[in-house]
């Protein structure tokens, strides 16, 4: 099993555009501030929002705080929801709008842990492959901290979430060409940072 695990942007776009049954009723309930509407929205969409938040901030605690902020903001934010895309996509947009504070917190925590790791020099406890994967993930999370926020968002949506540039443009409310430009610069910069870290 090789590259078959990488999904196409078109497939992801179709998945998010297809509204699950009852979504219109859920949105109406959110607008009317019905008790239980936010709970239902959470039960349906928390996995997608959490997965996005974790990829975005690279820190479980900061991601969980971001998930909370998204659903607490939902009753107010839903007034802007136009139902052109699925509610899940709208929730991702809310997460992006609330991400800045959590990104800073996650970056601070990462730097602190790295300083502690240098002092403690813990022996590795994971098998080689898992350790290598953890090292790569940590290196990329650190590199993402050095990216401008706009490039980071585009890289996350396109290369981690495998969304098309068109969908990323819709979520970020920017032109498609801008998404592709930022993605190009983001990849260039990340390749350079990772190459420097990979050299002995």
């Amino acid at each position: 099993m090789s590259g078959s695990l990488v999904t196409t942007g078109a497939a992801m776009l179709l998945e998010d555009q297809a509204s699950p049954p009852g979504e219109t009723a859920l949105v109406d309930g959110l607008r009317a501030r019905e008790p239980g509407a936010v709970a239902m929205a959470y039960d349906r969409h928390h996995r997608a929002v959490r997965a996005f938040a974790r990829r975005l901030v690279g820190d479980d605690e900061a991601a969980e705080d971001l998930v909370q902020d998204v659903f607490v903001a939902l009753p107010s934010a839903v007034r802007r929801f136009r139902q052109r895309a699925a509610l899940r996509t709208f929730l991702i947009g809310i997460a992006i709008n609330h991400a800045r504070h959590h990104l800073r917190a996650a970056a601070r925590r990462r730097r602190t842990l790295e300083r502690l790791a240098r002092v403690a020099s813990e022996p590795p406890s994971l098998p080689d492959e898992a350790a290598e994967r953890r090292r790569l993930a940590t290196a990329l999370a650190r590199a993402l901290d050095d990216l401008p926020l706009k490039q980071r968002m585009v890289f996350l949506l396109c290369d981690l979430e495998h969304r098309s540039s068109a969908e990323a443009a819709a979520i970020l409310e920017i032109p498609d060409a801008t998404v592709r430009t930022r993605l190009h610069h983001a990849r260039e910069r990340l390749r350079a940072i990772l190459a420097r870290e990979g050299r002995p």
Binding site: M1, A11, H46, A51, R54, Q68, P75, L140, L194, G198
Partner: protein, 240 residues
């Protein structure tokens, strides 16, 4: 390895690491609902006071004749609700307003109970399963609430994603789903079980397990990935 390959691998590793960690699903849900309830109380109080004050201050003839008894009733309702201290009126203490009914947890009919007061010392993570006290726990900084289903889930995750012992991981996912078929993490466990079957080369069983995720019977954020896996499983064994 080229720089492009390194970036691609790092992106894949970051996604995998992000998905592997367990999540305090129930605790976060309760925290969200608690924050919403706390933010709704001041809004309701302000609306009632503003409405009562607006009616009383309007001073029209119609209000003086027809509306006066109504205004008197409204004023009494405000005094009863918020008390003489809030309104400046003398009268009996206001009755306590009925508690807002809690929003039930999904599927179980259980009530969300108020959170316990904070404790001075951090709660250490239990090595094994710990009993659930009932209701929600606060998502404390650096800590996670533990319940038996979570401990089983974490064990299966370690076997699957860290030790890469797929036969043992498959048994662990099966054990989790047998014991906790309705847990918040059951969908995630079902999907991970399907991934195990793919890893073990059990193509028919993997396709059966992936089908509900791929065809949308189960609403899951990895539907597109499931579809891609199904397509790969349909290809002849040993091919690309």
């Amino acid at each position: 390895m080229t720089d492009e390959e390194r970036l691609h691998q790092a992106a894949w590793a970051l996604s995998l690491e992000a998905d592997a960690a367990p999540a305090p699903v129930a605790a976060t849900r309760a925290r969200i609902l608690q924050r919403l309830q706390q933010s709704d109380r001041p809004r309701a109080r302000r609306s009632s006071l503003v409405l009562g004050a607006a009616l009383l201050l309007s001073g029209s003839v119609a209000l003086a004749t027809v509306g006066q008894p109504l205004a008197r009733q409204l004023w009494q309702a405000v005094v009863d609700r918020y008390g003489p201290a809030a309104t400046g009126a003398r009268g009996a203490p206001r009755p306590r307003s009925p508690a807002r009914p809690p929003i039930p947890a999904p599927g179980s009919g259980a009530r969300i109970v108020p959170l316990p007061p904070p404790v001075a010392a951090p709660i250490p993570l239990a090595a094994g399963p710990s009993p659930v006290a009932g209701g929600a726990r606060r998502a404390r900084s650096g800590q996670r609430s533990q319940d038996p289903s979570l401990a089983l889930f974490q064990r299966a995750q370690r076997l699957h994603f860290h030790q890469r012992d797929f036969p043992s991981a498959l048994a662990a996912w099966d054990a989790f789903l047998a014991r906790h078929p309705s847990a918040p993490l059951a969908l995630e466990a079902g999907y991970n079980r399907a991934l195990c079957l793919v890893r073990l080369g059990q193509r028919a069983a993997a396709a059966t397990a992936l089908a509900p995720f791929a065809d949308g019977t189960v609403i899951h954020y990895r539907q597109a990935e499931a579809r891609a896996l199904m397509q790969a499983l349909r290809a002849p064994p040993g091919g690309q």
